[in-house]
């Protein structure tokens, strides 16, 4: 089998394994925890027969193994259950909201990478200078920010005090055509910026240290000895090799990015999956919470797969490893 196909197959299998793991962990957590799903929707005053009927309706009277199999088949068919409060299939509720979360997280990731690479290069090429110190301290501070804190701060300054940007929602309801796209973009700025500020530090700091290492390698010394301009050594030679650990970081940070999106959407009333988690917490709507986790896990796994494949296309070492 060609190495490329094997690499792809291996990554797809890994994604499937991760998804199975997420589903299994969820199933057992749901069954083991004291929050009995039937009790959660039942009145304390209801009779024993009614409770038994309820348990039977939800399939909770059968053995754990049967329940697990049922659960897997239901999920494979895309059935995430019915929301306790909205009496609507969870999948429908969440699918309507998923595009907003993908837009928010995707744009935040793109901006983070677009800013992180030049900043990391700047810090590495000016290592130990005042500029480098400044970028490092900024990176550590950024990593330490609590997402809602920075979200509220931006909202207060740019939304409330200066009145430059909308303070919530994803778009104006009455906008159409080009105005609608403009409205979506304007509403995206603050939530996206909150996520970028929190994420940027890890990327800059990782790229900085790997790039400093790469610049000390023999091939960079050779390139300089040949008389190659420093700019070309950095961007063409060192950076390409230094980007590998940074790409691995994307995979590690995706889960964190999604967590940040949940908090950001809660602050800005942004109508994504995270906002429905926020609402479901207040209403103790467990099916929505469970469905939201599984959907976000699925999104992260697919995004991880795409990153891996993209990188495998760019770097032959990854394919054969």
């Amino acid at each position: 089998m060609p190495a490329g196909i094997r690499f792809l197959l291996h990554r797809v299998l890994r994604g499937l394994l991760t998804m199975w793991f997420a589903v299994t962990v969820t199933f057992f957590l749901l069954r083991l925890l004291p929050g009995d799903p039937a009790l959660a929707i039942a009145d304390p005053g209801m009779t024993e027969e009614l409770r038994a009927k309820l348990l039977a309706d939800y399939g909770l009277d059968r053995s754990l193994g049967v329940q697990y199999w049922e659960y897997l088949t239901q999920l494979a068919q895309g059935n995430l259950g019915v929301s306790f409060r909205q009496n609507q299939p969870v999948l429908d509720i969440l699918l309507e909201r998923l595009p907003w979360t993908l837009l928010l997280a995707g744009s935040a990731l793109a901006v983070t990478v677009a800013l992180g690479i030049p900043l990391g290069v700047l810090a590495a090429t000016h290592a130990k200078s005042g500029l480098d110190r400044f970028i490092q301290v900024g990176g550590i501070t950024g990593q330490s920010l609590f997402v809602p804190s920075i979200g509220v701060l931006l909202l207060y300054v740019f939304g409330v005090q200066l009145g430059l940007l909308p303070i919530g929602g994803a778009m104006d309801g009455d906008a159409t055509g080009a105005a609608a796209w403009g409205s979506i973009a304007v509403h995206l700025i603050l939530p996206c910026l909150s996520l970028v500020l929190v994420q940027l530090g890890s990327y800059v700091l990782t790229l900085r240290s790997t790039l400093i290492d790469a610049l000390g390698e023999d091939y960079c010394t050779l390139a300089r000895a040949k008389g190659m301009p420093q700019r070309r050594v950095v961007w063409r030679h060192a950076l390409r090799n230094a980007l590998l650990p940074t790409t691995t970081l994307v995979g590690l940070q995706l889960g964190f990015l999604v967590g940040g999106a949940v908090l950001t959407e809660s602050i800005y009333a942004y109508p994504g999956v995270g906002r429905s988690i926020f609402e479901a917490v207040g209403q103790l709507d467990f099916p929505v919470l469970q469905g939201a986790f599984l959907m976000l896990a699925f999104a992260v796994i697919v995004a991880n797969l795409l990153t891996d494949v993209a990188y495998g296309l760019l770097d032959p070492r990854v394919r054969t490893a």
Partner: protein, 301 residues
Amino acid sequence: MTISRTSAAGSTPTAGTTAAALPPSESVAQQTWQAFRRNPLGLASAAVLILLILVAAGAGLIADYPSGYGEDVLAGPSAAHWFGTDDLGRDVFAQVVWGTRVSIVVGLAASVLAIVIGVLVGVAAAYFRYADALLGVIVDLSLSLPVLPLMILVAALAGPSVSTLVVVIALFSWPEVARVVRSQGLAVVPMPYVSAARVIGGSHLWIIRKHVLPGVAPVIAVSVVLTTSRAVLSEAGLSFLGLGDPNSWSWGAILHQAQRSGSLATAWWTTLFPSLAILLLVVATTLLAVAYNDARNPRTR
């Protein structure tokens, strides 16, 4: 008979002569402390953390427990209320002080629990090669999932309380510790002194306790600090979403109250001060970990 690293090294003749030629050698811990003492950023971070722990311990001496209703509703910072008051007239300074206690207790407890599980799994994976495949996959898989939504689900099911927060955060924080401990353990286990201990017939438990654990101890020290700050952030996130203990104040809970009452957008002091407290703690722990790493590493020392 006990064979430790020093006696094993001392039994070779060369080690004795080099030791005699060098000035009285300090222990690694002393050298690390000497280097750490010269790093102002590290010392300042340690001071900040000690201060926060003192505030947490002596919350009752600093401010009255914030409860009931006050007369000044949503008043800005003043001499009477340093950090202003919230929508029910409660003193925000008192909330932040008492919040320090819950935030730090949850952070430390969750971190200790996560470290214990993480070290056990990490050392087991590094030492018992046959266990590594399974444990490694479990750690890898858990690390690639979005943890916050999972914590939210579990915390909501278990019902909000301080102990729920501790267990939930620990339950989903140990894989990170296990990953770091495992990779350091993989460097320690093939060392000649570990093989030597095996040859003289040491039991697995004894070898792990005497040789593997000391080898990974520095990584654990850094992990304690970083896991605590991450646990504080997780606690703040869960409490902010309304999954905190309803009977106690924490930094995240103050933000939750501000969000729920709608004072978030108008009264900046209700969110700024708890936010600063979180930032202070997390920055201090991060800088402390960096300073410790630098002090421990002979190259940066």
